[in-house]
């Protein structure tokens, strides 16, 4: 097959980030995609942070338990709520992307989106309440 030539595109946004997060005239699915990217970056950062934090365990009980007590402060709990949103959203939107991408229910992706993200939101609210109350 022939090669594709690059274009010189005056209208193209200078940064590709602009294209992803340019919601004007776009539908809910683009917001879903942009949010998936945002949560992906957030979760990646968290993953590394989490691994670093876990090194406290190697320092024995004092190290870890002092971390646990910090982690129960209100500011930390708020961060946890944000994290929880990222996790459940990325999980459930990810299920849709994976299923649709393998050709499963690809004709019903909108319903799938509302259903799964609906479940995610319910879990998020329940989780957030638990974080603050327990």
């Amino acid at each position: 097959m022939p090669d594709i030539q690059p274009t010189t595109d005056k209208a193209r946004p200078k940064s590709s980030l602009k294209a992803w997060f340019h919601p004007r005239g776009r539908s809910i699915s683009t917001i879903a995609f942009a949010l998936n990217r945002l949560t992906a970056i957030g979760l990646t950062l968290y993953l590394f942070l989490h691994l670093v934090v876990l090194s406290q365990l190697l320092r024995g009980p004092e190290g870890w338990n002092s971390f646990v007590s910090i982690a129960k402060s209100p500011i930390f709990l708020t961060l946890d709520v944000i994290l929880l949103f990222g996790v459940v959203y990325h999980m459930f939107n990810g299920i849709r992307v994976a299923l649709v991408g393998m050709g499963v229910a690809n004709q019903r992706q909108k319903g799938l989106f509302y259903g799964l993200v609906g479940i995610a939101l319910i879990l998020f609210v329940v989780g957030a309440v638990l974080i603050y109350t327990k």
Partner: protein, 131 residues
């Protein structure tokens, strides 16, 4: 007006069969498995535990269970792989030059390998601490 010339080589322009299909499948399946693993992780660490976080001894007890140990190791491997592939895909959409992409690939491979190695080391060490 900005005119964005592509900085990429002709080889990069060609669309030809490559491994991206397999990469995508790895991403999709690792994601689906992570949904299950993360579900277990969340419930075990934060839901059934009084106060939402295990203290030191509880963590050690938990990891000493061989099934949990295996799941946690699997979690580290798949989680790191999934996130490194995700970051690669984001970088790929930012019009990198061939050189940038190559460097990014290596940085991600090394970072991923270190993270996985460290995660497994951590799990093994904790299991030994638990005796």
């Amino acid at each position: 007006m900005d005119s964005t010339m592509s900085r990429r080589s002709p080889e990069q322009m060609a669309a030809r069969r490559d491994r991206s299909g397999s990469v995508w499948l790895v991403q999709a399946f690792s994601g689906l498995i992570l949904v299950a693993l993360l579900g277990i992780h969340m419930i075990a660490h934060h839901y059934i535990v009084e106060g939402g976080l295990r203290d030191y001894q509880q963590v050690l007890d938990y990891v000493s269970n061989p099934i949990i140990f295996t799941l946690e190791v699997l979690f580290v491997i798949l989680g790191v792989t999934h996130s490194m592939l995700g970051v690669r895909s984001i970088i790929g959409d930012m019009r990198p030059s061939a050189g940038t992409l190559r460097v990014a690939n290596w940085v991600l491979i090394i970072a991923g390998a270190l993270a996985i190695g460290y995660g497994i080391y951590l799990a093994v060490a904790l299991q030994q601490l638990a005796g």
